[in-house]
Amino acid sequence: MPSPEAQCQRCHSRLEAEDLRCPVCALPTPRPPRAVDRERARVIRCSNCGSAVAYSVEAQAPKCAFCASEMRTETQEDPIDQADRFVPFEVGTDQAHEALRIFLGKGGFFRPKDLASRAALDSLRPMWWPGWKFDAQVEATWTADTDAGSHRSDWAPHSGATHLVLNDILVSASRGLTQAETQKLSPSYNLAKAKPKPEGPPNAQVELFDVTRSGARRQILAAVELTARGHIARSELPGRRHRNLHAAVTLSGLETAHYALPAYVLAYRYGKKLYRVVVHGQDPSCVLGEKPLSWAKVAVTVLVALALLVIVFLVIQAS
């Protein structure tokens, strides 16, 4: 069994104490060998009553036929991981409220004029949403079609290899917040300030990691692949357009940490409808959410645009 701080010998990724194989490259984790110097037949005894133990299909474990006690064997554990680092709230409840007021005041042309004054706060919920942070090194080999070097066809094939160092990449495990919301919130967190205990408003809730360890690893590997593909598409490919990007990634040195990240989820009422807004827990200027549209303004704009088009058409016809 690897120690809690163990590393994979092949890809240098961090291993958990219960891992039988490396989750990234599948190398079996070492176990101290038991010395056997001569041949002998051993009867496995029940630790409870001392009678012989045999594997039972029904119990799917070694089971004593006399006292029915089962023996535990080491298998791949798949617990639900919990956050062990809490990024503290640096925005108070009042500041979050103020941030909402500013957000509503910034309106935009199509928003109702009285939005800031008539919107009524319905609920304000401080919460920590769960997320993984990972560091990894990626060797990626890729192929793609781009317009660079193309002849008769619009496309020409290219291939390449690249080395990426990914640091502090956040992957959301939240079910309460959408992917789009967590993506916009993520860049503004200062993970260096994380503490082992939650610090923030007393009524703040901690959203649990609702994912098993194996599920988490799948999501993290998918995120690594997505990040690598994004990097290749942005800065590795020649030409301006591309298609059929295939990337094969091999990770090394994958380290993950479980974070709880602060945010306020607010709901305000305008007219009869409820709208949701998320305020960042560390940066009050980072606010995302929905605002109602003023349909009257939209209708007037469309009518004006149509009228202009008709006039232009008539002028062209007349000339």
Binding site: V36, E39, I44, A52, T73, E74, P157, H246
Partner: protein
């Protein structure tokens, strides 16, 4: 090999390839420990049996009956004569595979083509869009981990049969413990490690052809060639649960050999073909064809 039973002291006779035995006098299940050799290291992992013997019987019979259309009639009365749960040793291989490839990539483009045709007795010139393919050479590298390759380590279970029983769910892998195989038949590896390593590499090379085909850009590709180097290989023994069945259907014929994946319940076995049934079917088809031909030719004459 003679060993003494830990429970009653009786002499146990254990075959060289077996890892377990049951004392014929006191019925105590024993696990044999041997000093490891390169070709016979101690198992690292094992998968436990999940399918009960009753279920294995049902699955095998059901599978046989479903595929019995071309088989002799006696198959319908087949009964399980013998059923054994065996932990079969297999090598679990993983590696970092680095391939250099070259291929010809096809990129499609459309061209307008003029052609002449006859319409209402006149020759006219028309145009049409045709798709053509431009072939471009591409060289590159493809690197990835190959995690879960299983090849047999037992001379009793050919690799081809193991492939029919795969996949095994390796998420349920357990670290090998003598208690896992106690009371069951368990084999030690009987094939040389070097031979199995070559087999594993060959299996990965075959697998990589599919991976590389999917890796190629363009609309199509041809003459894909690649050479693969394997780095940081690992090869450990994993015991796999397999139910071995002998099904007797005809007292004169040898029993049918069936295998059931002890974890997932996947069945593999060959069903004999009844040549009488096949001959009858061929005759029937010929008769129907002949009848149709006669009918049609008769119709034409009239």
């Amino acid at each position: 090999m003679n060993l003494s039973c830990q429970s009653c002291g009786a002499q146990l006779v254990v075959a060289d390839t077996l890892r377990t035995t049951t004392c014929p006098y006191c019925a105590a299940p024993s696990v044999v420990e041997r000093p490891p050799t390169p070709d016979r290291p101690p198992p690292t992992f094992a998968l436990g049996f999940v399918q009960t013997p009753q279920k294995a019987r049902e699955l095998a019979r059901e599978n046989l009956l479903r595929r019995s259309f071309w088989a002799p009639r006696s198959i319908r009365n087949a009964s399980v004569e013998e059923l054994r749960g065996i932990y079969v040793p297999a090598w679990l291989y993983s590696a970092l595979a680095e391939s250099e490839f070259s291929a010809s990539i096809g990129e499609n483009y459309t061209e307008t083509e003029t052609y002449t045709t006859t319409e209402n007795g006149k020759t006219v010139t028309k145009t049409r869009q045709v798709t053509r393919t431009e072939w471009c050479p591409l060289q590159g590298r493809h690197t990835e981990y190959v995690p879960d390759v299983l090849v047999t380590a037992s001379s009793g279970l050919p690799n081809e049969e193991l492939e029919h029983l795969e996949p095994f769910d390796l998420r349920a892998l357990r670290r090998y413990d003598d208690a896992l195989v106690a009371g069951w038949i368990s084999e030690d590896p009987s094939l040389p490690q070097e031979q199995c390593l070559q087999q594993a590499r060959a299996e990965v090379t075959g697998l990589l052809r599919k991976r590389l085909s999917a890796f190629m850009p363009g609309d199509s590709h041809r003459s894909l060639e690649y050479s693969t180097r394997f780095h940081q290989e690992s090869l450990v023994v994993c015991l796999l649960p397999v139910w071995v069945l002998a099904l007797r259907h005809d007292p004169k014929a040898p029993p049918l050999h069936f295998l059931v994946n002890g974890q997932t319940g996947k069945v593999y076995g060959r069903v004999p073909t009844s040549w009488v049934k096949v001959a009858l079917a061929v005759l029937l088809v010929l008769l129907v064809l002949g009848g149709l031909y006669l009918l049609l030719s008769h119709g034409k004459v009239r």
